[in-house]
């Protein structure tokens, strides 16, 4: 038997080493196969593109619907987003998506995407021009993200496609995707995402990605967000992606990213680098990104996100990812006259589970006063509701009562110690507004 194996090995070796017939000079070698709907997997978000598509471990952004539905769990406010992408050769994408926080720390996401290629000239088999046609593809995506444990969230999404390549050449396809998001340490998260496409393509033609995100204090204000992904499209070109974003002046976010192909893709010119910016104007986020793709051309994205006005504002992981709520200034912008008082809860919320104290001064805005009363009732009804405490804190902040706001945030943090952004924010606040005993030293 051993002799037979040796003989077989010798034959195989001889076959391998035998000079092969010369290949035709015009031989084409496939280096990858077609990956269905790759553009739809790009994130549909100017923020994601500017971060080099390294978005798997990011949470709290509506675009998580496509990059990792587990990240939807970080959204605390309803939102509506519209994104337009211009790609090479007049190919465009338009995407409308919405996110709806549900009870039980879960969030529902919905997205509609339209991809248009622009007109194509038709030619028959003899090369004679025929009628032009316009391929297009539309998809509907439904996703759901839920936080199972304080440090672990999971998500699922389903997508249906309708593609029309040419007259009488159309069809349906569908895909399923699953992802997770794990908060390893405060500020450090890991995410994973896999999508499975059901169509005339093979099942292995899915999309597999893993990534990390980390919040790093580079400057005095908000921490920078650093992200890195490894994209493993089966039989496609593996990529390492990374990105960074920094919030400046409370409203402007700058983003940079890069993508490295782990194989020579025969595309010359400047490519891989991505950049973008975001600007907050009230409840609106305006985002733009630019990604040159060498000799193929470039991709530009512009997006508009509306965060529905409510007592609680934008989630921490959005453009102002370091803040526990929107519409109030970061600690660096707090007036020096603000007092930081570390005392027991002082505001008057008569009822079980709350600590009595002197009532907070009435806010100037009647609407804000109503919101405060309503939110205080929520806290009264469920004192263990951390998001409710955080919302109440946001309202007090907007009312110009930072002491009460900080106390609410502290209460929220006690109930949810894993709330990294809130913890970071409170630490920044304390650094800038030390307690009176320390300040007097």
């Amino acid at each position: 038997m051993a002799a037979f194996r040796r003989a077989a090995a010798a034959v195989a070796l001889a076959w391998l080493l035998h000079p092969a017939p010369a290949l035709p000079a015009n031989q084409t070698t496939y280096t990858s196969v077609y990956i269905p709907s790759p553009l739809e997997n790009g994130g549909h978000s100017a923020r994601a593109q500017a971060l080099g598509s390294a978005f798997t471990a990011v949470e709290g952004d509506p675009a998580c619907l496509y990059s990792n539905p587990a990240g939807l769990s970080g959204i605390t406010e309803p939102s509506l987003s519209l994104t337009h992408q211009a790609w090479v050769s007049d190919i465009t994408q338009d995407n409308l998506q919405a996110a709806f926080p549900l009870k039980g720390a879960s969030v529902l996401g919905l997205g509609v995407n339209y991809l248009g290629t622009g007109p194509l000239q038709g030619y028959d088999a003899s090369g004679s021009p025929t009628l032009s046609f316009q391929p297009s593809r539309i998809s509907l995506t439904l996703g759901w993200g839920v936080r199972l444990f304080p440090a672990l969230a999971v998500g699922l999404s389903a997508r249906g496609f309708y593609q029309s390549l040419a007259p009488a050449l159309d069809g349906f396809a569908s895909s399923l995707a699953a992802g997770f998001l794990w908060k390893i340490l405060p500020g450090l998260s890991a995410g994973g995402f896999y999508s499975f496409l059901e169509s005339d393509a093979s099942p292995e033609l899915g999309q597999l990605k893993g990534g990390l995100s980390y919040q790093l204090h580079l400057f005095g204000g908000s921490p920078a967000l650093l992200t890195a992904d490894l994209a493993l499209p089966p039989q496609g070109v593996y990529q390492v992606e990374c990105g960074a974003e920094q919030l400046l002046f409370g409203a402007l976010t700058l983003r940079l990213g890069n993508q490295w192909d782990l194989k020579d893709n025969q595309i010359g010119g400047f490519r891989g680098f991505t950049m973008g910016a975001g600007f907050r104007w009230g409840d609106l986020d305006l985002d733009a990104s630019f990604a040159p793709d060498g000799d193929l051309g470039s991709s530009q994205m512009a997006g508009l996100t509306w965060w529905f006005p409510s007592e609680s504002k934008k989630p921490a992981a959005s453009a102002a990812h370091s803040l526990p709520a929107v519409n109030f200034a970061p600690p660096s912008q707090i007036s020096a006259n603000d007092k930081a008082v570390h005392v027991e809860m002082q505001f008057n919320l008569a009822g079980k589970g709350t600590k009595a104290g002197p009532a907070a001064p009435a806010p100037s805005s009647p609407q804000l006063a109503q919101d405060l009363q309503a939110q205080a009732r929520k806290v009264q009804e469920n004192p263990k509701d951390a998001p409710a405490w955080q919302t109440l804190g946001s309202l007090y902040w907007r009312a110009g009562q930072p002491d009460f706001a900080v106390q609410c945030f502290q209460e929220a943090l006690q109930l949810r110690p894993d709330n990294g952004p809130l913890k970071d924010w409170l630490e920044q606040y304390r650094r800038l507004h030390p307690p009176p005993s320390k300040a007097g030293e």
Binding site: W15, L16, L17, H18, P19, A20, P21, A22, L23, P24, A25, N26, Q27, T28, T29, Y30, T31, S32, V33, Y34, I35, P36, S37, P38, L39, V88, S89, I91, T117, G118, L120, Q121, G122, Y123, D124, A125, S126, G127, S128, P129, T130, F133, P135, L165, A166, L169, D200, A201, P233, Q235, G236, V237, N265, Q266, I267, D293, D295, L296, G297
Partner: protein, 124 residues
């Protein structure tokens, strides 16, 4: 060693595509505008198509085909004389979808030219 390379490519699941330059003998083929090229038939059905271009001088033609993700899926080199020429593509291993094509001309007498990137649909 060439056989080893082929064996490795095949065992890794990478199909090979063979192509050949074709004379532009078909009278129906249109001369593309300067600096451009096209594929016929369009949509590309039947497992094959031809890329049509004009070479100002004799030289080597390189046809690069990318999928929507920007991944290279076909790389073709062909020596052609000056004039209206075409290169055949074997699309039998292509999946249905949209593709991008770049044509690079390297002239024998020196110099090079990149034709405008264009898109085409494959519907096997």
């Amino acid at each position: 060693m060439g056989r080893i390379r082929n064996f490795m490519l095949l065992s890794a699941g990478f199909p090979l595509l063979f192509l050949s330059g074709l004379p532009s003998s078909c009278p129906a083929v249109q001369t593309p505008a300067a600096g451009t090229c096209y594929v016929y038939p369009s949509p590309a059905t039947g497992g094959s198509a031809s890329v049509v271009y004009v070479l100002p001088q004799a030289g080597t033609v390189r046809v690069l085909v990318y999928n929507e993700a920007g991944d290279l899926v076909a790389d073709v080199e062909d020596s052609q004389p000056a004039g209206l020429e075409q290169t055949a593509l074997d699309l039998s291993h292509f999946r249905r979808g949209l593709y991008l094509c770049r044509v690079l001309l390297q002239f024998t007498g020196g110099g090079a030219q990149a034709l405008k990137t264009f898109k085409f649909v494959v519907a096997p």
